[in-house]
Amino acid sequence: MSKIAEAFNNKKAFIPFITCGDPDLETTKKLVIEMEANGADLIELGIPFSDPTAEGPVIQGANIRALSNGITTDDIFGMVAELRETVKIPLVFMTYANVVFSYGKDRFFANCKNAGIDGIILPDVPFEEKAEFEAVAMEYDVDFISMIAPTSKERIDMIAKEAKGFIYVVSSLGVTGTRAEINSNIKDLVERVRKNTDVPCAVGFGISNPKQAATMAGISDGAIVGSAIVRMVEKYGKDSPKEVGRFVKDIKEAYHAS
């Protein structure tokens, strides 16, 4: 079993997302440790990109703050290696194709393996283009995470059949960001995935509170929360780990209550 699969083993997983280097790498480290301590099952670490076309204003802002701090991909590899001395849960990078491509795919995934990264999410690399990245990622035991969206329809079959780690189910149309309600029929999406694979499904995009997270995890295998946490990081800055830790704890409690 891959390390990512373990995060879903006999439980509903909770997956928080943060952007590395927002407001600085020290805080990012503290956030990861705090989130693990409060029950996060897997953490998505964003490597900032100048033009994140799949993100709404909140995460765009985090990307800009991190980059204006001069954070680089190399700094982030260094931070992950340090975190790995204590952090046990799976860690997954989320970034854009050009960050990986320009770094050199081989060097990038080799560094992932050395630092202890378990998976990669590239929202601008769909099924048709994934081969050039996935082939290299596999060599270094990094799972290439596939996404499916409410518009995927018949594409779900081919995507699910080749999926590794977990499947990122995009809850709604549009970009990342909190939404008052999620209208898509997540159940149907998950059911169609189930017909093709046992790889777990985690739902993301638009989940803003513990109740929503528990609902989404209830109809899938886990929930991903990004913008709601990034907004807390924006608000509380260096003091955010405590606040975010409490939020993660609330979500896990909502999981158990439902």
């Binding site: 033009d51 995009v170 549009g174």
Partner: protein, 597 residues
């Protein structure tokens, strides 16, 4: 996708079989010397049984036009196919009555093919056979045809796949090849259709130009671009679509645009003869309208009611707002906030045309951010919305669609220069941002090896400074905005802020086909600075009385350098992609003069 025409159907069971196989066209022969001849009454009955998605083509040999018109009016045929000695007047008479016309030509000589190319008919059919069921001859000649055509003559299930591979026709026509004992044979019909359809899997290349291009977009958009590609492949050679588009281009946008001999400029520079391809004279003042009319019409056919677009200088935004107004569609234009300030007049024009203009404040608040914002908007609203991308960039199929719609520039200029000078130009020069006017200006010369193709990039304050937008000259290969190509970026792949005096060239990437033409050495890309462009802006105004866009002035600037180094019997074509009224205030500011509009 290759369309299919099953011709010479005579029996009700033939129609039943056709309904199952769903070819795009079937044919009724109205020619009493043919053994497949059908009467009007017979055809009427057969048509009533035909699936309405399949078009019925009436095949005629020198019949009176009234016969054709009668059958069309009574809805017995949807298209007329002419097999005799019908001349251009005959064809035009039918077309004036809105009857789609296919004219047949033989493939036996280059002269005949040239005639076919020039025919006014909506579609041409090339008969590559030499009689009933005789296998087709050498098909390579047909690759020189510069318009879509239907291939006919001796096709059967064994040879049709190869014939498609070699000639890439719009459609294939078959009659004898699907018969046994002079009757249509259900099995042969089925095998023929399968042989054509099977070939289509190979076609999907995801839009690669060498290593460049591709579809690097979120999963949410994948079905939207696939749907767009399918619709485009269906309509691009569809005679009715093309007739509507040609009508808009000619009677609304004012095409063909002039190829103007710039005599004073030529004499002043003392070298090569300079011709200007006057895209500035199009309606809305730039080449952008060529692409927009095509995409808006396509979007409308796809059932979309809303167009969104990005714009830099505002030319594409104005063109999109114009097409939306004309075709009764909703329109939203994303424009970098900085650009809304330096191109305030165009913002007003878009609003006047009924479009909503959204100033984009993210990132550098210029063209790249407008593209990002339009892409974000498209992911949130796909059902009723078409993203009318303005340049040969973004995910496949956009670079191909936009190029095809802009290729009319070189299609016209090539025949215009042959008419004027009896030979091809030595160089074609155009400015390059994303590269749509440049690819349009180059496209029909790509196979003419003697024609040098030169793209002029905006160097801003110089390619040795950070304030530049010369992507091919200073960028490196990367993945952004849906495509693999050259981008200005830092060592970690962060997209660099770029700069040019021209809002339309102020983009950190370049279309994937340009990246490919650069890689294979077929086109060269030269940097032109702000200062050179502004000088050219003033020069062409004073020399030829033409106020050219600051974007186009980059191309004129390079022509000024190149022409004196060439011989007097050599020819340069420079594309004036747009008019420069919109730039006057900014150029005045550049020269230290503040004018209030």
């Amino acid at each position: 996708m290759t369309n299919i025409k099953l011709c010479g159907l005579t029996r009700e069971e033939d129609i039943k079989n056709a309904n199952e196989l769903k070819p795009e066209y079937i044919g009724f022969v109205f020619y009493d010397k043919s053994r497949r001849n059908v009467s009007k009454a017979q055809a009427k009955k057969l048509k009533s049984l035909l699936n309405p998605e399949i078009k019925a083509v009436g095949v005629f040999v020198d019949a009176p036009t009234s016969t054709v018109e009668e059958l069309y009016t009574e809805n017995i045929i949807d298209v007329a196919q002419l097999h005799g000695h019908e001349d251009e007047d005959y064809i035009k008479e039918l077309m004036d009555n809105n009857i789609p016309v296919i004219k047949t030509f033989n493939a036996n000589s280059p002269e005949e093919l040239i005639k076919a190319e020039k025919s006014a008919a909506d579609m041409i059919m090339i008969d590559a056979g030499s009689g009933d069921g005789v296998p087709i001859k050498d098909l390579k000649l047909l690759t020189y045809l510069d318009r879509p055509f239907i291939l006919a003559g001796g096709l059967n299930k064994e040879n049709v796949a190869d014939a498609i591979e070699i000639t890439k026709p719009y459609a294939v026509d078959v009659s004898t090849g699907i018969e046994t004992d002079s009757h249509k044979d259900k099995n042969k019909m089925k095998q023929f259709v399968e042989a054509v359809r099977k070939d289509e899997v190979v076609e999907n290349s995801n839009g690669r130009f060498g290593v460049h291009g591709g579809q690097y977009i979120p999963e949410t958009l994948m079905n939207a671009v696939i749907e767009l590609e399918e619709a485009y492949n269906h309509y691009k050679n569809d005679p009715e679509f093309n007739r509507e588009l040609t009508d808009l281009l000619n009677n609304y946008a004012g095409r063909p645009s002039l190829l103007y001999y710039a005599k004073k400029m030529t004499e002043d520079l003392g070298g090569a003869k300079i011709y200007l391809k006057r895209e500035d004279l199009n309606h809305t003042g730039s080449h952008k309208i060529n692409n927009v009319l095509g995409q808006a019409l396509l979007a409308k056919k796809m059932g979309k009611t809303r167009l969104i677009a990005e714009t830099g200088a505002g030319q594409h935004g104005v063109a999109t707002a114009t097409a939306a107004a004309l075709l009764g569609m909703e329109c939203v234009v994303f424009m970098g906030k900085e650009d809304t300030e330096r191109q305030a007049l165009n913002v007003y024009r878009m609003r006047l045309l009924g479009a909503e203009v959204i100033p984009v404040t993210s990132g550098t608040a210029t063209l790249k951010d407008a593209v990002s914002e339009a892409m974000r908007e498209w992911t949130s609203r796909i059902d009723d919305t078409h993203y009318c991308l303005g340049s040969v960039m973004g995910p496949h199929p956009f670079p191909t669609i936009v190029r095809d719609f802009q290729a009319i520039i070189s299609k016209e200029s090539r025949s215009q220069i042959l008419e004027a000078e009896g030979k091809l130009p030595d160089a074609v020069i155009a400015c390059v941002g994303g590269g749509s006017n440049a690819i349009g200006s180059f496209y029909h010369y790509i196979n003419d090896e003697g024609v040098e193709l030169i793209g002029c990039e905006a160097a801003g304050r110089g390619i040795d400074t950070f304030e530049t937008a010369a992507t091919v000259n200073t960028g490196k290969i990367g993945i952004f905005h849906g495509m693999k190509s050259y981008f200005c970026q830092d060592e970690y792949g962060q997209i660099a802020p770029v700069y040019s005096i021209s809002a339309g060239l102020d983009y950190p990437g370049v279309g994937p086909e340009h990246a490919y033409l650069h890689d294979i050495g077929r086109a060269k890309y030269v940097p032109v600075t702000d200062e050179e462009a502004v000088e050219a802006f003033e020069y062409i105004a004073k020399t030829e009385g033409i106020i050219a866009a600051i974007e186009s002035s980059h191309a004129i600037a390079y022509a000024k350098k190149l022409a004196p180094t060439m011989k007097k019997d050599q020819i340069i074509i420079v594309t004036v992609s747009g008019r420069g009224d919109k730039d006057c205030a900014a150029i005045a500011r550049y020269r230290g003069e503040d004018i209030h509009e």
